[in-house]
Symmetry: C2
């Protein structure tokens, strides 16, 4: 008997974040794959759980919960060990602020539905879609690198030496960047933190290649 159902997709970076948090906290879940390229996220059954038709949705004993950032906060509140937010308010503010560079400024603009819309509406080809992806990935990575490199709180991970929500967003985005050949040369701090994340089994296990629906 699992604690949760996770309706998700192997390659979705927002799904990666949630899988990693569940793993870190030792919570079990049934993996429910939704093949986005086949439109399974737009099925009536999935829209009943999540009217946005996006992934991931965590089905909990209290009901379905869409939106990865809301899921991470809730998991941390009801299953606090190990924490994925700092103990002090300013630390939490910093972690959330770093995380949002990925969660608000990079990921939504580069989501699959946006890339598909660029193709169907403006005839943007694969190279053009990759250029679009890199434009917004680089803008966010540059800002994230600048902050991580200059702020004293940065440690092995984004905030000190334990994994926080900022790391979950960072490492999932870096995995995604590789698909679109984002040049990471200018982001040494991000690259170092990403490597540290991939050395954490809970995070490595959550990567796309290790999921049952990986192709």
């Amino acid at each position: 008997m699992s604690d949760f159902e996770l309706h998700n997709y192997f390659r979705s970076s927002t799904s990666v974040r949630v899988r990693a948090a569940l793993n870190l906290k030792g919570l079990s879940y049934d993996y429910i794959p939704l093949a986005l390229l086949k439109g399974e996220h737009a099925s009536a059954a999935h829209l009943a759980l999540n009217p946005s038709g996006l992934v991931p949705t965590l089905v909990t004993p209290e009901g379905p919960l869409p939106q990865s950032m809301a899921i991470l906060e809730w998991l941390n509140e009801v299953h606090p060990a190990p924490p994925i937010l700092p103990a002090d308010p300013w630390g939490r503010a910093r972690v959330r602020s770093l995380a949002q560079i990925v969660a608000a400024d990079i990921h939504p603009v580069n989501n699959l539905r946006i890339l598909q819309h660029l193709e169907t509406t403006y005839g943007v080809d694969a190279a053009g879609k990759a250029a679009w992806f890199r434009t917004w990935a680089n803008a966010g990575m540059q800002a994230l690198e600048t902050r991580l490199a200059r702020e004293d709180e940065t440690g092995t991970f984004c905030h000190g030496d334990t994994v926080t929500i900022a790391d979950l967003c960072l490492y999932a985005q870096v995995l995604n960047n590789a698909r679109f050949e984002v040049d990471m040369t200018n982001y040494p701090t991000i690259t170092r933190i990403h490597a540290a994340c991939m050395n954490v089994p809970a995070l490595a296990d959550a990567a796309p290649a290790n999921q049952p629906d990986a192709v």
Copy 2:
């Protein structure tokens, strides 16, 4: 002597969210306008505060804090009255999940920098940019309407009868929707909650038209 400096822009919906929260909590702030259309957000002085070059940034006694969603959470932690999140974890999860429909799925995709990029890179004209805006606004509004209409926790506002982070995101987005002539006919619950928000002086005062840099 003000409690904070808010580096922001009158029309920015993420700035509206933060101004409304500061007003609700009775916190004073110096309004520092950044004329986005003149590129003031990309100045060296602003990038020193916020390397993303986006608005808003709240300058606090502890340092500068970019990212509106991180700012709202921090303000609520350090100035808890009146609360803008529910007292129970599942309520907070619901509010954050609703807020993210706007904060992750609508706003970032329709941000000024994206619309400008569509024009400069793909030659999308004003009508095309408005169509793009409406595509993502309608997708998010439809999901938000469905959830608000069917979930028992919805009250005068998104969650019961007090203003939460979800309302701050909702009403700021609805104000923005009007600029791009989003047809709100199919969103009666959102429209009702937006009207309730505009009856709260703290929220009405934060609207774009009431700011010193409004044009």
